[in-house]
């Protein structure tokens, strides 16, 4: 379970995240959607311990991030939007590195890594340096590394960036399967069709605030429209007016 209490982040006087309160039940695929600069990535970075909140708290599985960061990080699998990795390691070495960092037991780790490399179609490249991987391959490697330690919470920032349709389908399946087994998936995305397809609950954010939150049906009610998620999104975030000037 994920819970935000009055979560706020102020950068140089700008409220990137403004007093967010949110609850995501265990075993849910949750989507955070919003325009560029809405505060999605900042929220995610605070969840995974990369940024410190200015105010408010984040609870993950009952633990508060500022009090027990190590324990929380151990149960999180984080997939960032840009695949910056150690370019001078091979894919296999990177997975072993992450296994060591997350304290994954050495028993059976080789088989687990081999299986993940197969699933993500990286076996042929396991001994090549990451610097020679394409963007999509790096993204697949990051996803493999993120789920290697069997995390209870998966936090994803723009999961489909750089993935081909086959990779995208695989990732969607992994998220839904993991949620089915009790893991919580928290993802931010611009791809509204993806959010509509796999997220049980969605929050629309703009200017650091939550404008609407709930299931697709709840959002339709809150926006007062029966149209698609895209229409709801544009109506709530004011994107419609921007299109009119073109």
């Amino acid at each position: 379970m994920i819970k935000f209490e009055n979560l706020t982040k102020i950068y140089h006087g700008l409220r990137a995240v403004d007093n967010i309160n949110l609850m995501v039940p265990q075993g849910t695929v949750f989507g955070l959607i919003g325009p560029n600069g809405a505060g999605k990535t900042t929220t995610i970075k605070m969840m995974v311990g990369v940024l410190r909140p200015t105010m408010g708290n984040i609870f993950i599985n009952g633990m508060e991030i500022s009090r027990e960061p190590t324990k929380i990080k151990k149960i999180i699998g984080f997939i960032p939007d840009r695949p910056f990795l150690y370019e001078k390691l091979s894919g296999l070495e990177f997975l072993k590195f992450k296994a060591g960092l997350y304290g994954v037991s050495r028993n059976g780790i080789d088989a687990r890594i081999s299986n993940l490399l197969d699933i993500f179609e990286l076996s042929d490249w396991e001994n090549e340096l990451i610097e020679s991987y394409s963007h999509g391959m790096k993204q697949r490697l990051i996803i493999a590394a993120a789920i290697m330690h069997d995390p209870k919470v998966i936090v994803v920032d723009e999961p489909m960036v750089g993935l081909d349709p086959k990779g995208a389908k695989l990732v969607k399946k992994i998220f839904v399967d993991r949620a089915g087994k009790g893991a919580t998936v928290f993802m931010s995305t611009h791809t509204l069709s993806l959010a509509q397809e796999i997220c049980e609950r969605i929050a629309i954010v703009n200017n650091g605030r939550i404008l609407a939150c709930g299931t697709y049906e709840d959002l339709k009610r809150q926006a007062g429209t029966e149209e698609s998620l895209e229409s709801i999104f544009l109506k709530l975030t004011g994107g419609d007016e921007a299109c009119e000037g073109i």
Binding site: G49, K88, K98, L129
Partner: protein, 565 residues
Amino acid sequence: MKAFKLLISPRFAGFKNDITRSKGNRKIKILTLSIAGILLWLILFFLFYRMLIYFSSQELIGDILAKQLLAMVLLMLFSILIFSNIITALSNLYLSHDLELCHSSPATLIELFLSRSFYTVVDSSWMPLVFGLPVLIAYGFVYHAGLNYYLSLFNVFAPLIIIGASLGIMVVMILVRFLPAQRAGNIVMFLSLFLIIMLYLLFRFLRPERLVNPDAFIGVAQYLAALKTPDSPYLPSHWATSLLWANLIKDQTSQIFNHLLLWSTTFAMVIIDIWLAEYIYFEGFSRSVEAKRRSYPGKNILDKVVSAVTKPLAPDANSIIAKEIRTFFRDNTQWSQLLFLAALMAVYLYNFSVLPLEKSPIKSIYLQNALSFLNIGMAGFVISALSVRFVFPAVSSEGKAFWIILSSPLSLRRFLWCKYFAYLIPMLIVAEILIIYSNYLLKVTPFMMVLSSITIFFMVFGIVALGVGLGAVYPNFQHENIAKIATGFGGFIYMVASSVFIAIIVMLEAGPVYAILSAHFKGETVSLLQWVWIGSSFIVVILLNIFTVKKPMSLGLKAITDYEG
């Protein structure tokens, strides 16, 4: 040429923004670096001024020495220009991130090529301006040169810079025509590094200090032969030397031929480069964009080394240190610097082997021990110089992948200490080799051997902590070239802090060591009061070492804990 102007405008806009929009810390950094630059400039000026004044006091050979020195300086500047242009041209023409954007623009290939060549010239020309001008102005002062001389400096620098850049760009275009840009880059970097080291070693092993002592030579002919520099009438630096020298000594002979040689070569080189670019530049660029599988040699050896080193460690420390070793040895910009390390150590030890101790008016037993004591400080400075290059960038080396550490369950404290120990062990080994071997060459007393070995051993703990800690206080995770991190503001602060630390340790130990040695040589006993003083000094040294390990590490930890990208 409209596109050319547009293509070079981002560099000017970026520079302007950097100056006008910098705030707080950044402004202080710019100011500090400017002051350091001016100081360096003044030091170079006064060094050469003194040297030239000394030369001018030497009858017969004074002018010969000054002219040879001028030829040597210009030849060296010209060679450095070519090498630095090769490296910057590779980056500007083939490897920069914005090249794809530029190549997809409607600018013509030649406009694009010229704009990137312009970047290359700008990137490389600061060095002769910074290091060359003070030398040449010192010449002007000593020889009371007129306005003509100072005007001719432009006439010399402009063509030398453009010819150097054109040659560098030409070499790069031809290399990349046959090799992928990345590999060509590695080869060029390795070769230039190798050449610089060879030049450095050659220069040192020639013992240039003998040139100011003609008595050391058997005859005049032998002395004059030793003065000869490698020069050729076909080199632009030779034409530049003739031109400047004529202006310095107010020689009335016409220098029009040297002028023409310099400027006609400049124009010819630019035309040849443009012509070459039309044929081979785009093909080379296109090849450099293609993705290549990047395998790595020596995998088995490296795996064995990593496994042996990290076996006794906990899994998280094992991961960090294994990653550190692997990335270090696979990054050419990193491991190739080990050659510098070897050269630095070789010259350092060579200097001890050629010390004329027997000629000293002081008793050599005193001198040996005094030198051994100074050696602690000098070895400390050598270790600091190595640390600023290898240890200081340790935290920044995580680069844009630092999110992996931040989002992992590894605590930042543990991360920082893992980095510390990864560098401490090799630095200890290097320091002990330096101190023990140089003491062996000096034939010092066992007391000094033990004292200096122990002092440097504990000093390295502080030097490495300063490197890791201050490296975390001044991190640069956005760098494109790790070698440049040491040259920034943080590297400067580190060198100052490290030098102060070494100087204090040496000063604290100097008095007690003198008391013990002088009592030993005079056959006296050390008094109780002296023992108290000696004991207190060494306790302060121990406390200072502990402080220098703890404080920078805690400052570094706070800085990366508060880091927000």
